[in-house]
Symmetry: C2
């Protein structure tokens, strides 16, 4: 049987400048297709055509379209993890509220860079048999969040971290899908949701009922 390695990893590394450009063009074309047509438009011929290279060249570096997708996801996850590590670092020694702001800012920067691409990759991710490396990246991300919470005395950091990540992701996706792009507004709402979940004080959205039925 063919292992994940064989199916999902680049076939060979480009050694010269032009081949690096070819690889880059292929990945960029795949990204653009995901943005504009979704996963169904992602065919090897289509990618190659949009990249301005031949299919032959494509197959020289990627064993198939899954490998292209895997590479895009890998990079996305790497970038995301780096952003979060940076945020966690900035928040060292600061309180929970500060850490939440730093992390939500990192998350939003990530989602707002190429909104449609981020959405598409997250949608395709579960369809893929995940690479060990991608698994590891996601695990480190989770650990990072959990540590931030644990260091600040949050109860049940594992489950809390999972819930907080999940609700933030849900809100970000929906907002971006709806075309919202106002960073500060989004961050306020994410912050409210997370603080609220944790039981921190949050200004109420509920007014006094005027009258009853």
């Amino acid at each position: 049987m063919t292992s994940d390695e064989t199916r999902l990893n680049p076939r060979k590394a480009p050694r010269q400048g032009r081949s690096r450009a070819t690889c880059a063009a292929i990945l960029e074309a795949a990204a653009r297709i995901l943005e504009t047509e979704g996963g169904h438009g992602l065919t090897t011929n289509h990618v190659a055509a949009l990249a301005g290279v031949s299919v032959g060249s494509l197959y020289q570096y990627f064993p198939g379209k899954q490998a292209i997708l895997a590479e895009l996801i890998r990079r996305m996850r790497q970038e995301m993890l780096a952003d979060f590590e940076q945020a966690a670092l900035e928040a060292r020694g600061r309180d929970l509220a500060f850490a939440i702001d730093a992390l939500t800012a990192a998350s939003l920067r990530h989602h707002l860079r190429r909104p449609a691409l981020a959405q598409a990759l997250e949608r395709e991710e579960p369809e893929l048999q995940l690479d060990d490396e991608i698994h590891a990246l996601k695990a480190r991300m989770r650990e990072l969040i959990i540590d931030v919470l644990r260091d600040r005395n949050v109860a049940e950091p594992e489950r809390t971290g999972m819930d907080v990540m999940a609700l933030a992701r849900g809100m970000s996706e929906a907002a971006i899908q709806a075309g919202q792009r106002d960073f500060d507004d989004l961050q306020r709402r994410l912050g409210r949701a997370i603080r609220g979940y944790l039981g921190l004080a949050v200004p109420s959205l509920v007014g006094e009922p005027r009258q009853e039925g």
Copy 2:
């Protein structure tokens, strides 16, 4: 050009009992494939084979696989809306906390019935050019939530409703993906998140910091 109607609607309605059974078998087979293999396994031949009918029969009732998917989504949304309408009805005259419980319970019942199917359909939905009917179902659902909030004096019910739906969806999806199936536990967590977002009192998860680094 072929309209959405042509592409997404059933081709003709079954009139006899056996053809109704055929249609049902096709839809059920498609559902099972989505559950076990995801959207990529959903091919017309595959569906027909698993349903125990011939492709010819399949095409007699559905113009293509998109139509099958659209029908599954339509039914899912109809069911969901019905559940929510029922919950909103039960909550008539009751306070916000009660309404939240009723609605989250409805949502969870929906997600827990066939977890993998619900996930798969929600993932496939955005790839499809949505039917007007499906759009309408989603709009009614949104209106229902907004009305529940507005009736209880929640500020900015449109945006609040959107955020609350989004965070609940994010949490449900993640939890179910992680294999969690404990209804009461999930409802508690969803309730906490929603109440917290709204600024209602929620027990804190944050302990007093013991000491500083």
